[in-house]
């Protein structure tokens, strides 16, 4: 029931966000329509970081409680995080090609995002290379914790390089027109709903899967 309601809210919100981005919000003066990729780019980046934070929390919760529910949450969240970080890494260069005239630069934000992506792909690889359920949960929880702690250090070590990524949010607030900031906030909210909808679905699938494997094992042992 909750998942159904969440699904409908998400559907309406993402639809509205798409309308806002493509028809309602004005074009940026210098960059033109290509700037519109920014609304989904930022929203995806936000989901990526949120998802990896959830992996970290779920990892701690799993190690403390040993409840396989938290393992499912971590696994589902890591999958979603990798997917949205991939979207960030694809939409970024599309925009950068027209704004910076280069697909990629080794700027702190870009590099950190790339390293983040590698860390969580490694997380998924660990999951697929351990076959015992309990061991898989334990190892991925541990790696999710260590990986998340590494991210700020990665960020600081890379920051000594020159930054050319636009800083949209600083201490003085959002540096753009009100229609633009509304669209941005709305698409971030829509993506957050999308994240929780996807999360609840993948957790559900993950639970079904482990239930199935338990049933299979019970049948074999009969």
């Amino acid at each position: 029931m909750v998942r159904k309601v969440l699904g409908w809210i998400t559907f309406v919100m993402v639809l509205t966000a798409t309308y806002l981005v493509f028809l309602w919000v004005p074009n940026e003066k210098v960059m033109g329509p290509v700037q519109k990729i920014f609304y989904f780019h930022v929203a995806s980046a936000w989901i990526g970081f949120l998802a990896f934070f959830v992996v970290f929390i779920a990892g701690i919760a799993y190690l403390v409680t040993r409840n396989s529910f938290w393992d499912s949450v971590g696994a589902a969240s890591a999958e979603i995080g990798v997917m949205f970080t991939t979207i960030v890494l694809i939409t970024g260069p599309i925009w950068a090609r027209s704004a910076w005239n280069a697909w990629w630069t080794w700027d702190p934000r870009l590099t950190t995002t790339l390293v983040l992506w590698f860390i969580y792909v490694a997380y998924l690889l660990i999951r697929s290379s351990v076959h015992e359920q309990e061991k898989k949960s334990r190892f991925s929880a541990v790696f999710g914790i260590v990986g998340f702690i590494d991210v700020p250090i990665v960020w600081f070590s890379i920051r000594w390089w020159r930054t050319i990524h636009p800083v949209v949010v600083d201490s003085s607030g959002l540096a753009m027109s009100s229609k633009m900031s509304f669209t941005l906030i709305f698409s971030v909210a829509a993506f957050t709903f999308l994240y929780f909808y996807l999360l609840s679905n993948s957790v559900f699938v993950e639970r079904m899967r482990s239930e199935l494997s338990e049933l299979k094992e019970a049948l074999l042992n009969r």
Binding site: L125, I126, R138, D150, I158
Partner: protein
Amino acid sequence: MRYFAQVRALLWKDLVSELRTKEMVSSMLIFSFLVTVVFSFAFEPDSDTIKQVFPGIIWAAFIFTGILGLNRSFINEKGNDCIMGLMSAAVDKGVIFLGKMTGNFIFMTVMEAITLPVLFVLFDYRMKGSPILLIIVVVLGTLGFAAIGTFLSALSVNTSNSEVLLPIILFPLITPLLIAAVKATAVILAGGEFAEWSNWLTILLAYDIIFTVIPWFLVDYVLEV
């Protein structure tokens, strides 16, 4: 005190078995020479480019060679199921981690102590900075690498494709270590000022502390029977 005696006993076991076979250090040495030779073919050895990428070559050789040692460090224990014995021994799991980590650190340092002068000779590199500082950077970099590497090696040894998995899960995590080590080495080789390398050294030191303490806590969950 008992704790350190246990760590020492474990370390001693690794050192003695290595001294008898000399398997790991010798293969690591040959491998690091080979990496060096590969680099000299990849970049023109007499050109100026080599002077610029020299710090990178040093660390690439150390890291690639280090992976070999890390992979062996727990896989060696798999023979006769020694790993099970280790894991069920009546010691704190942190002891196993510290013992293995110190062993890996020592093997890597031996390899580096021989490789580094060879690198200087082969590429005819004249350093302007202080050798003591270079040694400090190498030691700090190796320490962090051995710490997180030993931890992930303990994790990956229990998986189905451990030898391929280890570099894949280790390399993203050592990004800060690698950047800081290469930058610090570059500045020190060129005889840079204190202000130029102190930041990088701080990162190295912070990384070493964080990634020794956290794995030391979490290793209980990795080596659970």
